[in-house]
Symmetry: C2
Subunit: 315 residues, 2 copies
């Protein structure tokens, strides 16, 4: 049996045909056209599902879908997803069923990254791990006993909205000093820009002057690889803060394997090594045993694999 | 069937006979005499168990025991419990069985407070809640699906060792800016003392001058009740920090009922009201729904009730 995995974003609707062992058999992407409104987007989702279903050489048993925002505990509806204006409260599974005849389950996109990692990625060896997604924002997913830990209402693991400095700034979170305000791509680039602006001779200043918003974590790690001290210190500082956040998750959950994915994690060892150093200094000694930070090598495929897995294991 | 609940501390061994519905039938306390060494303490534990067992009018099915420090995943051994010198790694359940003939299970004391609250205290109405114990230190227990959430190795919910200020002080924790450094009784009193020392006319200065270590949270709340502005602001500040810590737990776990117990919580509304205010300001809007902070009215009995319950439900 196969399942269809969907990754619904504000810009693109990604879809894939998922095999329980072989993973992604085929993959597509179309634009969301969120501005055209709810009905139009639902139709676009349905048409991509129907197309993938028709191309499948084995029966398709259902659809798993990752969406931003809050998902209901029964995994059938979404509530005010960011970047999808006019959605408010949508019975998404019912709408899919009506349009495609297929049963569907919805889950938070970071939770699906974790599930995809658990079955097909770096998380495979671990019964319990914490996934941190360092992208535009910072998301999280908790795998406990090989399953997504969902909390009381399905909203667990909002790991970007954990504070490490109650006196800190409020950046794109209701929480002052939230992790997302330090590790989210936009804020990381912004802080980097402020520091680079003070060093007019730095190669990063020369390259990005006046347009630091274009600066990506990869640019910082490339510069760090060339020995650029400023880039190294910016990434070290970000890694240090990630380390503190990780200590908070680990002391709360007693889960000691941390899988890191997303665009910012492409800065790789320049962030993950200082994060490991800080965490090992700050964790209570018993928690240091078996503690590890592991990069997720799957990119966005993890979310599609997780979406397909959600359907395969739960419908 | 009855069970025996034991609360093993560095100073006292408390014991109780526990009925699954009626709770504590009788209760005792003897000194631990930790200085006499491991064997002597084990004998004292066994003799108190045997005495309680003999007095029981119904059969006793086993022993549940709360201990400080790290407990093994199988709940049979303890590892380096604080305040019990020379214990290192002790197969506590086996030692009890050898001396009393009764099966025993050990659990972290804060986890047992949570379990006691879940069956006999303020936690009773909730399938999921977070227990925060504000005592000398700050401990925690997570009840998820009516059971203790133990994490990968049984060490989950070290909630006092979660940072809210990575630049903060390191107080009795490996973690800088850990909650325990603000809310633990000793640190709260110490900070209060520093502030009171600057106000020689304040009633608290006159009463505790030079001996602020004797100042207890209750003294602050009593002064607050009399309108002492300094006491009010000290407790508000502590409550505010507790609020930030709670936001971290709630965004990680999606568990929205917080039960607070322990000596510091005796300062009651003076701490819990500002904690609630901060949490409601900082939580992401969906997490504010059904969010509550509830005081635990059971005192240390919660730990004994939890210990008995542990045995009754798991042996």
């Amino acid at each position: 049996m196969l399942a269809i995995g969907i990754d619904l974003g504000g810009t693109n609707i990604k879809s894939a045909l998922i095999h329980p062992e072989k993973g992604i058999l085929e993959q597509h992407s179309i634009s969301t056209e969120a501005d055209a409104g709810l009905e139009a987007t639902l139709d676009r989702i349905a048409s991509t599902i129907n197309k993938v279903k028709e191309s499948a050489e084995l029966p398709v048993m259902g659809v798993g879908m990752g969406a931003p925002g809050m998902i209901s505990l029964d995994r059938k509806s979404v509530h005010n997803p960011p970047n999808l204006p006019g959605w408010e409260h949508v019975m998404l599974a019912d709408e899919i069923k009506k349009r495609t005849g297929l049963d569907a389950l919805i889950e938070n996109d970071a939770n699906l990254m974790a599930l995809g990692s658990a079955r097909f990625g770096s998380g495979r060896p671990y019964e319990h791990f914490i996934m941190i997604t360092l992208g535009t924002g910072v998301g999280g997913g908790i795998i406990f006993n090989n399953r997504i830990f969902r909390g009381a209402t399905g909203a667990a693991a909002e790991l970007g909205h954990v504070t490490i400095d109650y006196n800190g700034a409020r950046c794109n979170s209701t929480v002052t000093g939230a992790v997302e305000g330090y590790l989210g791509q936009r804020f990381l680039s912004q802080r980097a820009g402020e520091l680079i602006a003070k060093e007019p001779k730095n190669e990063l200043f020369i390259r990005f002057n006046g347009d630091f918003e274009k600066l990506e974590p990869r640019d910082l790690s490339d510069a760090a690889n060339r020995g650029n001290k400023l880039a190294i210190s910016i990434l070290e500082d970000a890694g240090n803060k990630l380390g503190f956040a990780i200590v908070n998750y680990v002391h709360t959950l007693d889960i000691r394997k941390i899988v890191v994915s997303g665009g910012v994690s492409k800065a790789g060892e320049w962030i993950l090594k200082p994060a490991l150093k800080t965490a090992m200094e700050q964790l209570m000694p018993p928690f240091r045993t078996d503690f590890e930070i592991i990069p997720e090598l799957l990119g966005n495929e993890a979310a599609l694999l997780g979406a397909g897995t959600l359907a395969l294991e739960n419908i």
